[in-house]
């Protein structure tokens, strides 16, 4: 709503200014800046393609209809609609860079001017003459380019201001999130060893892995990129972080947002501050990772037993990842969670993993559970099968070794040979670090024969199927899968209402040779507590964390901020139960996972509805010869330039990170690793 008001106000203001003042200006060259065009481009960039298109259409119609407009009705609507949509498609850049959005807006403005002129020439040859276009267009485009950064800045600023005014304490929340991420959870006592997410700015983690508290920046609101907050680190560092880190663009808060990574119980204990010790791996493993349900009582005990601590992680209800929110909402909404797999593509990898409920009991799946337990693979992290055809529960177990020590290779191999009784097969995969095991139970979409080589597919679970945990989770929907569609790996985790527990397993495991490439979009609602663990495939197998799977493809998660988006939680270390999930993402061989961005998009006590889409990177060409298309195309104008600007090559970026192999600044090592891996893949026999 607030956004709508902002959009309408901005467009109306631009229209009036344009018509009454700017068009009457007499500037050298004869052209004037097209403020409406620029505002539409900026709003599109901030709001996404749909909103951009609609905004552009409305603004263009306004220009067509407002009194002096004597052109054909719909002319500007067409052009501005296209401009808004195109800019919206580049929305992600807003969170990643400062220069690129400006370039995009400038380019969109120039393109819009050209389109306007071309349409005029084509449709109204009497009014628009080629000579006047030739003489005036360059000046107009020039003024547009000059004015575009300011317009963009103002639009973003207005968005930030509105959002800030709405949430008021969002900055504090973000700060808490950072402090938690940077401080408390780091270290052996925290989750997953020395791993934490860097601050919300996408900064390169300093001091090993942790972005120190209060690195920089403010809350990211309304799709506002971090650049408004100023450069927190050097450009190189930011770039490095951008390459390395999962990309979570900020979500925009909506009314009805709730908590991600929160839990009712944690919120109930909102005022309790739990110190670091309580979060120690011991307690954690003992209570959550072992699969014993993290009951409300346990959580309360945890909270009670803890004392305020210097750098205490506050186990309060909080913003995702903040674990400390002074203004805890009272209630959780009851909206269901919708998980959708984004449309898979050819070449997408498989993910053997767990959409995890944290409950030790898998309802109605005793057999499966038994077998898993026997192998000491999963304790308490099973997905409960859905009543509605739930391929999730049955087909896609991602058993994870929850014992920090992980399985030996032998046991892993044993697992690999073992076929579960029905419907799937284990395929062990070794992490490069060798400490963890994953396996995926694959299942045919039709519920048919097990096929060991088949990737896990969730294509059957289309509608409202899987149900996580006892009752608090809504349906999980998958869009129809396609060849080599991935699973949602570990990304979704349920704190499970009352029984607590950990969700998300670490990372995304590849099965077989295929690397994981899930693209999913989580569209949770209501009470969902989503934590995205296992981002970028780290899925760390650190002490006390969930083990990582076979080195998965680094994955980029992007948020699609939309109205009502909540927080991408978890990853910054949530509170309460969702901490379990973070084990997966935070841990991992000391590999940094910097730069998760969360948004403080929450407003008082409303349920969270983050939606994000993960888009993993490919570590290389898969052996099938088909090039996976999930590569993240990072194209920048700067990359066209020579010299120090041109260090990034346009095109597909394949960042393959070996877990634990590189430090925070090891881009060179990473590259050479990627090269080696590439060579390994191309060898006959492929990657072992």
């Amino acid at each position: 709503m607030r956004r709508l008001i902002l959009t309408i106000a901005a467009v109306a203001l631009a229209l009036l200014l344009q018509l009454t003042t700017i068009n009457g200006l007499r500037l050298p060259g004869g052209g004037v800046p097209d403020l409406v065009l620029l505002v539409v481009a900026a709003l599109g960039l901030a709001g996404g393609p749909v909103r951009g298109a609609i905004t552009g259409f409305a603004a263009g119609l306004g220009l067509d209809l407002a009194p002096p407009g004597s052109g054909l009705l719909g002319q500007y609507a067409l052009v501005l609609c296209l401009v808004g949509w195109t800019c919206g498609r580049f929305r992600g850049t807003l969170a990643r860079s400062a220069a690129v959005p400006m370039l995009i807006v400038a380019a969109a403005a120039v393109a819009g001017e050209v389109m306007i002129a071309a349409l005029g020439l084509a449709l109204q040859p009497a009014q628009v003459s080629w000579t006047s276009v030739r003489q005036v267009l360059p000046a107009g485009a020039f003024y547009d380019v000059v004015a575009s950064p300011f317009v963009l800045y103002l639009v973003l600023l207005a968005g930030a201001w509105l959002g800030e005014a709405a949430t008021a304490d969002s900055g504090a929340r973000a700060g808490q999130a950072r402090s938690l991420a940077g401080g408390t959870l780091v270290g052996p006592a925290g989750l997953g060893g020395p791993a934490a997410l860097a601050g919300t700015q996408g900064v390169a983690p300093r001091q090993g892995l942790a972005g120190p508290a209060g690195t920089a920046g403010g809350a990211m609101l309304l799709g506002l990129g971090g650049w408004l907050a100023g450069p927190p680190e050097s450009r190189r560092a930011r770039r490095a972080a951008a390459r390395r880190a999962p990309k979570l663009a900020p979500g925009a808060g909506r009314p009805g947002d709730g908590w991600v990574g929160g839990s009712a119980a944690g919120r109930a204990r909102g005022d309790r501050v739990v110190g670091g010790p309580a979060l120690s791996g011991q307690a954690w493993r003992g209570q959550a990772l072992r699969g014993q349900a993290f009951s409300v009582q346990a959580l309360r005990n945890l909270a009670r037993d803890s004392r305020p601590h210097g750098s205490g992680a506050a186990l309060r209800a909080g913003v995702a990842g903040s674990a400390a929110d002074p203004h805890a909402p009272r209630t959780l909404g009851a909206r269901p969670v919708h998980l959708r797999l984004a449309a898979g593509r050819k070449g997408d990898g498989t993910v053997g993993n767990l959409l995890g409920g944290g409950r030790s009991v898998v309802a109605g799946r005793a057999r499966r559970r038994r077998s898993l337990n026997r192998n000491s693979l999963v304790r308490g992290s099973l997905v409960r099968g859905s009543p509605g055809g739930g391929s999730l529960g049955r087909g896609a177990l991602g058993p994870v070794s929850l014992d920090g020590g992980a399985l030996s290779r032998r046991s892993m191999d044993r697992l690999g040979r073992r076929r579960p009784s029905r419907g799937g097969s284990f395929r062990p995969a070794v992490m490069p670090g060798g400490s963890a095991v994953t396996s995926a139970i694959t299942r045919q979409p039709d519920g048919g024969h097990p096929r060991s080589a088949a990737p896990v597919r969730f294509s059957t679970a289309r509608s409202g199927t899987a149900r996580f945990g006892p009752g608090r989770f809504g349906p999980v929907r998958f869009v129809p899968g396609r060849r080599r569609d991935g699973l949602i790996g570990g990304g979704v985790l349920s704190p499970l209402g009352r029984s607590g527990g950990i969700g998300g397993s670490g990372g995304i495991g590849g099965s077989g040779r295929r690397t994981a490439a899930p693209r999913f979009r989580v569209r949770p609602g209501g009470s969902a507590h989503l934590t995205t663990s296992g981002l970028s495939g780290t899925g760390g197998a650190g002490a006390g964390t969930l083990p990582s799977l076979r080195r998965p493809a680094p994955q980029r998660l992007r948020m699609h901020p939309r109205r009502g988006d909540g927080m991408l939680g978890g990853s910054l270390g949530g509170h309460g139960r969702s901490l379990g999930g973070h084990g997966g993402s935070l841990g991992g061989h000391g590999r940094p996972l910097g730069g998760l961005r969360t948004t403080a998009g929450l407003r008082g006590g409303r349920p969270a509805t983050p939606r994000f889409r993960a888009r993993p990177l490919s570590p290389g060409r898969p052996p099938s010869g088909k090039r996976p298309r999930f590569g993240y195309r990072r194209w920048s104008v700067l990359s066209l330039l020579p010299g120090r600007f041109g260090t990034r090559s346009p095109g597909r970026r394949t960042v393959g990170l070996r877990a634990g192999s590189t430090g925070p600044s090891g881009s060179l090592a990473r590259r050479s690793w990627a090269r080696r891996r590439w060579a390994a893949i191309r060898r006959p026999g492929g990657l072992r």
Binding site: G30, A53, L63, W85, Q127, T131
Partner: protein, 315 residues
């Protein structure tokens, strides 16, 4: 890239909608539906523009002050400054109005004075005035200011009207040359870098002798719509030589400064008698241009003594 089926669907729908609008507007020409839409929206937008343009005149500075007294004083300063700029504005408006009325009185036009409140975007040269059908303005009426012809009213709402300026490339004005009485027409240059380009004059008589400095007035249209007779248009700035052309051509510098339109008048009743050339400003007299001739006589010793010679007046 944030792309999805939904966004593409939305884009597709909107594009189709825009194309439908364009097609409907293009094909219908001046159909009633489109006109109705335009009129309704113009009524809404026009009133807003009116308010906005009256607000833009009041631009005053304001500083930040700490103490209450300073704040009060600075507010006062801002108010006074706004007052002053308003005064200045109205002074300029007054001057323009005065000239407009004198011109209208000279020609015997009954005019409704109006202010320009909005300028069209894109390549059309259109403006919106704050007078509408409530003031007696109708479509296809002449718009002029104190200097001469501004344009033609193309559409009218209750409170506003839209004027197609004479510089728009789709505007054609029938004119008469001042001394000779030759008949022709003037088309606008469209949008130009300078804002006010030269109008293009074509005279029906291919053998007409056009000379720079000749003045143009509008010749009467049928039933004085859209152009009433006798309104000054401009002076011939240059003659375009085009041998074998069917019409004689020239470029015309308009009397009106189209980039600084303020107070204009809409002629709501034509003059009883054709004012002919009586409204024209006094024709520019040809001023003598001094010519300097330098005669060089080769002298002895290889030097070239230059001797300034007599200036002769010509012209």
């Amino acid at each position: 890239m944030h792309d999805s089926r939904r966004s593409r669907l939305v884009l597709g729908v909107l594009i189709v909608a825009a194309l439908v609008l364009i097609t409907a507007d293009y094909g219908a020409g001046g159909s009633s539906v489109m006109n109705g839409i335009r009129k309704a929206s113009a009524a809404v937008f026009g009133s807003t523009e009116r308010l906005a343009s009256s607000a833009t005149g009041l631009v005053g500075g304001s500083g930040s002050a700490s103490s209450g007294q300073v704040r009060a004083l600075s507010r006062q300063v801002a108010q006074l400054r706004a007052q002053l700029s308003q005064e200045r504005l109205s002074k300029a408006d007054y001057a323009q109005l005065l000239r407009l009325l004198s011109l209208a009185g000279l020609g015997g036009y009954r005019v409704v004075a109006a202010n320009v409140i909005a300028t069209g975007a894109g390549y059309q040269r259109t403006v919106t005035l704050d007078a509408g059908s409530a003031d007696g303005v109708q479509a296809r009426e002449t718009v002029l200011n104190g200097d001469g012809l501004v344009g033609e009213v193309t559409s009218v709402t209750a409170g506003t009207c839209t004027v197609l300026l004479a510089t728009d490339s789709s505007s054609q004005v029938g004119v008469q040359l001042a001394p000779s009485g030759q008949i022709g027409w003037v088309t606008g240059p469209g949008k130009t870098p300078s804002g006010t380009g030269l109008l293009q004059l074509q005279v029906l008589d291919a053998s007409a002798q056009l000379t720079p400095g000749e003045q143009l007035v509008t010749s009467a249209s049928v039933k004085d719509r859209p152009y009433v007779p006798g309104v000054p248009v401009g002076v011939i700035a240059g003659v375009v030589n085009r041998a074998g052309a069917l019409t004689a051509r020239a470029t015309v510098r308009s009397y009106v400064n189209f980039t600084a339109l303020g107070v204009v008048g809409i002629v709501i009743a034509p003059p009883r008698h054709d004012p002919r050339f009586s409204v024209l400003p006094p024709a520019p007299r040809a001023r003598p241009t001094p010519t300097v001739t330098v005669t060089v006589t080769p002298g002895a010793g290889g030097t070239l003594p230059a001797s300034p010679s007599t200036p002769t007046a010509g012209g």
